[in-house]
């Protein structure tokens, strides 16, 4: 069943992808082939394979048990939050928070997680910024 849904989704994706290609405006400066045919070929490849999946699906995978779903959601949400908080809060604070959260989810005690996260974050921050010349955000609230 899952594969049928996935097949349908990829079929939709292929159709939408081809439609979007057909709407491209091409100037007269283009090469003979232009920007549209290559996407059409890809859409055909994905569409036909997805169609096959619709009719010949694999057995369903085993999904994680329900009690793990909040954990998964939390991890994904924290990754999104990380992207938004990195510039305002800076690398050290954001990374320490993210690492601590993950450590806790992987079964650390809070002081282990916080200690390990802070130590590692500080170590890589100075290694990369001072040692290797990579610029990492300091954080708007600090400066």
């Amino acid at each position: 069943m899952t594969d049928r849904i996935v097949g349908a989704l990829f079929l939709l994706l292929a159709v939408a992808y081809a439609l979007e290609a057909s709407r491209m405006q091409v100037g007269f400066l283009s090469d003979p082939l232009g920007p549209r045919p290559f996407p059409y070929i890809i859409a055909a490849l994905v569409g036909l394979s997805a169609l096959w999946l619709l009719f010949r699906p694999d057995p369903d995978p085993t999904w994680p048990p329900r009690h793990l779903w909040p954990t998964f959601g939390l991890v994904l949400l924290s990754l999104v939050a990380y992207a938004y908080l990195l510039l305002p809060l800076g690398f050290i604070l954001t990374t320490t928070l993210e690492m601590t959260l993950l450590s806790l989810l992987f079964g650390a005690r809070w002081w282990q997680g916080l200690g390990g996260a802070l130590a590692f974050t500080l170590a890589v921050y100075f290694l990369f910024t001072e040692g290797l010349g990579v610029s990492l955000p300091v954080g708007r609230i600090f400066g």
Binding site: V46, D58, M99, G116
Partner: protein, 502 residues
Amino acid sequence: MDILQALMNGFGVAFQPLNLLLVVLGCLVGTLIGVLPGIGPISGVALLVPLTFALKMPPESALILLAGIYYGAMYGGSTTSILLNIPGETSSVVTAIDGNKLAKQGQAGPALAMAAWGSFIAGTLSVVGLMTLGPLLAQWAIRFGPAEYFALMVFGFSTLSALAGKNLFKALIATGFGLMLATVGQDPQSGISRYTFGFLQLEDGMDFLVVAIGLFAVSEVLMILEEKTPGAIRAQVGRIYLSFKDFMASLLTILRSSVMGFLIGVLPGAGASIASFVAYTTEKRLLGSKARFGEGDLRGVAAPESANNAAAGGAMIPLLTLGLPGSGTTAIMLGALVSLGVTPGPQMFEKNPEVVWGLIASMYVGNAVLLLLNLPLVGLFVRLLAVPAWFLIPAVLAISFIGVYAVNNNPFDLLLMAVFGLLGYLMRKLDFPLAPVLLGLVLGYLMEINLRRAMTISNGDVGYLFSSPIAVVLWVLAVLSLFAPAILARLRKQGLGGDDEL
């Protein structure tokens, strides 16, 4: 004598202090990655690419480092297979069968030593193969026009799709999806924006590092979260030794598996995992009742470990001579080289000999370094397994953040990484292979540009794509390779369930 002269120049490059340091670093990191379950060679290579950019390394140094990680991981992967029955990498899954039996019989030392020696011999032989076959293939491929290149890429994608996963159609979807990602951004020929949906951050296209780290490293975190994580592990290694008698008894197996692994490695899509699996089953059948495969035979360790190292060397051939990577890891190397201003392909042997020959020479050095790392120091690496998962996994993720952010200094890439992390997890659960996505993304641009050049030359005549004998042969091979899964399935039935290269 041309080759010897070129090799001498290569050693000149490889023995520069920086490059010597990088070989050792690459082998060290590779072994680490091999030993630690939960981080594979693809993630490892992807995470170190930003470092090569940040340090403004010359391309040959970057490639020496990245390749060291790649073949280093092949050595390290066997250690946990043998000692704990936990394969560090998919290419060492078969090693666990006899390796772990040997360890339980108190023969861990000989098994580990056999893995190290087999790897060393195979690794060195594969560099010899790379050195002799590479220039020949490059000379032949230098006459390729856009039509041949397009056919070559179709062939590459078709073997990859055929061999990379359990379900051919899922692999084809993954390939197509990767190609879709490659078309995001400004069209190089007409200049219009495609599939950017108004996001300025997408004008330059999706960065292969962001996609690679998301698909492989982040999704791995989710996988480990789901599986019951093993706590800190302690294992006894004992004395690493191998008697001369045992070594001689396995020598033929090592040599045969090296040749087999090398040839399989050259083929796009058939990486180290398939090589180790095929070598094991072939040796098992060849030796028959003379060996005790499955009950703890040293040759059962020698065959897969030789084959996967030889395959890593073989995989460098299409990458260097044709610019056609056959696996996720080599795709990242291609992307890194392109970012550093070198386009792999037949011209590279003439235009950038220091990159090709520097790499080849460094692989001789690297294999010797790895033998030293793995024979006396293997106990040290095993002790690293005592690092608990609650520290290791978040730490890998923190490095991923730096790697992704450093690409463009833009947090938008971190969002993309999260999206690809979820996507990678779902794909793993649904048995979609991940490597074709990465290859599609890295090669899509070249594939389209060659198609369009061919059509410009022929003024729109599609027949031009099939007009040369080489192109026709490649098209035929591409179609034939789609039948490979059926053959592999029959092989698989005869013994064991070999796992796939992601």
